[in-house]
């Protein structure tokens, strides 16, 4: 968050989301996201990584106003309070901020032909366009994602996962948004299709100068697409760093363990790996550990970690939420 850089496109500060659940016969509140802050610059891709319970999908939904946030602010350039918008004002902002969903087929109305599905965002958000203009944009949009005109008349169930994901991308880009949030777009795809879709995202990013928030648990894809990466654990931010910095010199103990857990398709390296980098289970979001939420599995945890929540602080250009970040640097793993 440098003061000399131009104003960020999106600024999230202390974002918190919780929802009511029934647990052991009582109504309690589950904190899915807690005190999450980050910036998104223009034409930048921010990766958001985390495992189950990290809150990454919750983050996507909260940004797109699909679920309510109960704490914090999100500012959209120049001065729009994204979380406070309602009704028509919210709808007008939707042409700036769009989303690509995890399951391409499920994100399409099974009763709607693709052509109509693609025209819909234009009908609703850009009503000034004529029918001819809309259809022209749809045609261009399809071409851009590598699909054909013939597909317009078909229904979602007639498409494969990869094709459906392309349609989802075309739909998100119809209104020419500034920011696209991708919620695990590769999770439901086969290995070879993943590579194609990742390449397509890369291309679209460049061609259209998009700002993206790329949410995934697939670290190699994040490394390929993102300029900066944010690591979430149990709803809290552990580390935010430039992509190369994060992957070369991870500073947070969780980030380190996460990176070392990724299977490597090279027997010489993989065989040498005897012990799992991280023991224990992810704690329940209903009863998060006190202080640093990662302390129950952290090999470097000390007393202070249980008492004090570590705040995000700057270390050499990365933001790290760890009391012992500097000391750990020196410890070889």
């Amino acid at each position: 968050m440098s003061s000399t850089a131009p104003m960020p496109l999106l600024e999230a500060r202390n974002l918190g989301v919780s929802y009511a659940v029934r647990h052991a016969g009582r109504q309690v509140r589950l904190r899915a996201l807690d005190d999450v802050s980050f910036d998104l610059a223009r034409a930048e891709t921010l990766g958001i990584v985390g495992e189950s319970g990290s809150g990454k999908s919750t983050l996507a939904r909260a940004l797109l106003r699909l679920i309510p946030a109960d704490a914090g602010t999100v500012r959209l350039h120049p001065d729009i309070d994204l979380l406070g918008l309602r009704g028509a004002a919210l709808r007008s902002v939707r042409s700036r901020l769009q989303m690509i969903f995890q399951d391409g087929v499920a994100a399409l109305d099974p009763r709607q032909r693709i052509g109509e599905a693609l025209e819909e965002p234009l009908l609703v958000l850009k009503p000034q366009l004529s029918g001819l203009q809309r259809r022209e944009r749809v045609r261009l949009g399809l071409e851009r994602v590598g699909l054909e005109r013939a597909h317009l008349d078909r229904f979602p169930h007639q498409f494969s996962g990869g094709q459906a994901q392309r349609i989802g991308m075309a739909r998100a880009l119809m209104v020419e948004p500034e920011i696209v949030v991708c919620d695990e777009p590769l999770s439901s795809l086969d290995v070879s299709i993943k590579a194609q879709i990742t390449a397509l995202l890369q291309q679209l990013k460049q061609d259209l100068n998009l700002s993206m928030i790329f949410i995934a648990h697939d670290l190699p894809a994040v490394q390929q697409l993102c300029e900066r990466v944010l690591v979430l654990y149990l709803g809290r931010v552990m580390e935010i760093a430039r992509c190369d910095a994060l992957f070369d010199r991870p500073r947070h103990p969780y980030t380190r363990a996460l990176l070392r857990s990724v299977p490597i398709p090279d027997p010489r390296v993989a065989r040498g790996r005897r012990t799992a980098p991280l023991a224990g289970e992810i704690p329940s979001s209903l009863t998060p550990p006190s202080g640093c939420v990662f302390r129950t599995r952290c090999p470097y945890a000390v007393d202070r970690c249980a008492r004090e929540v570590p705040l995000l602080r700057s270390i050499d250009g990365s933001e790290v939420a760890c009391h012992r970040a500097e000391e750990i640097e020196g410890i070889r793993t």
Binding site: D190, P263, D266
Partner: protein, 269 residues
């Protein structure tokens, strides 16, 4: 050369089309030849639809009733194809065990963990309830489940995904099988938990000397665990080689393209 533990020859599986049409039939496997030696880990990689799961189902006789199976599957020289159910049941669960991708589908949601675990030793091993329960607790410890006594009395939905997978591994290993079949055992798990489960599988294999036939789409897992690898595509094995050889000198074009498409993390040297 001693006879392999598992010998598959010319295995073919065909699912007929609905209503007996000619078009629409699916040839899931054609002419598959495979050996698994005692104590070794064979990794089967391929994308979805390559037929890798069909091989596992064929071994255990778990194919749907309308499937047409041809070829031979020999376990310790005994032919499994067409084996009478009574004999097959003596082998299934005791000498050949399976770990599924989704633990919830293998675990009975209405039974406590300890009861499910004790089932095999009681039914096949003839152990008393107490002894079987004791054995179950030992297995829970072997798979490193914390507070095994407490967990044993819980129901599957009270456990996390990683723990359920450990329970399933415990169930597979409790009768000390010679061959373990694993169908994408870690796909549904978080990456840090996956690393733990892979380590556990490695450790248990070394301890019990069981062979492992591991089906996965992830070459990274294969690189870590497998002694030999088979690459599958459209129901056929296109290449079979030792693990290191496959990664360093892939022969078949498909293997090469699979290796190229596999996303890999660029780690600092």
């Amino acid at each position: 050369m001693s006879e392999a533990l598992l010998q598959i020859r010319s295995l073919a599986v065909r699912y007929p089309a609905p209503h007996g049409q000619a078009a629409g039939a699916v040839q899931a496997l054609s002419g598959v030849d495979l050996d698994v030696a005692a104590g070794e880990c064979l990794g089967l990689v391929g994308e979805s639809g390559s037929g890798k799961t069909a091989i596992l189902l064929s071994i255990l006789g778990l194919l749907p009733p309308n499937a047409r199976l041809g070829g031979s599957i020999r376990f310790h020289g005994d032919e499994l194809v067409g084996m009478p159910l009574k004999r097959l049941n003596q082998i299934r669960g005791t000498r050949i065990a399976m770990i599924f991708q989704d633990p919830m589908s293998a675990l009975n949601p209405y039974m406590r963990i300890i009861d499910q675990l004790s089932e095999v030793p009681r039914v096949h091993g003839g152990l008393s309830r107490r002894d079987a329960g004791q054995r179950a607790l030992e297995m829970l410890e072997a798979v490193h489940i914390g507070e095994p006594r407490r967990r044993a009395r819980q129901y599957p939905h009270e456990l996390s995904g990683g723990m359920r997978q450990r329970v399933m591994i415990a169930m597979a290993l409790i009768a000390e099988p010679e061959l373990i079949l694993a169908d994408e055992p870690t796909t549904a798990l978080d990456v840090t938990v996956q690393a733990q489960i892979l380590e556990l599988l490695q450790e248990l294999r070394e301890r019990t000397g069981a062979a492992l036939l591991l089906v996965t789409h992830d070459l990274g897992i294969v690189a870590q665990l497998a002694d030999r690898v088979g690459v599958m595509r459209h129901g056929r094995i296109v290449e079979q080689a030792g693990c290191l050889a496959l990664f360093e000198r892939p022969q078949h074009e498909y293997t090469r393209s699979l290796l190229a498409a596999m996303p890999r993390l660029k780690v600092p040297a």
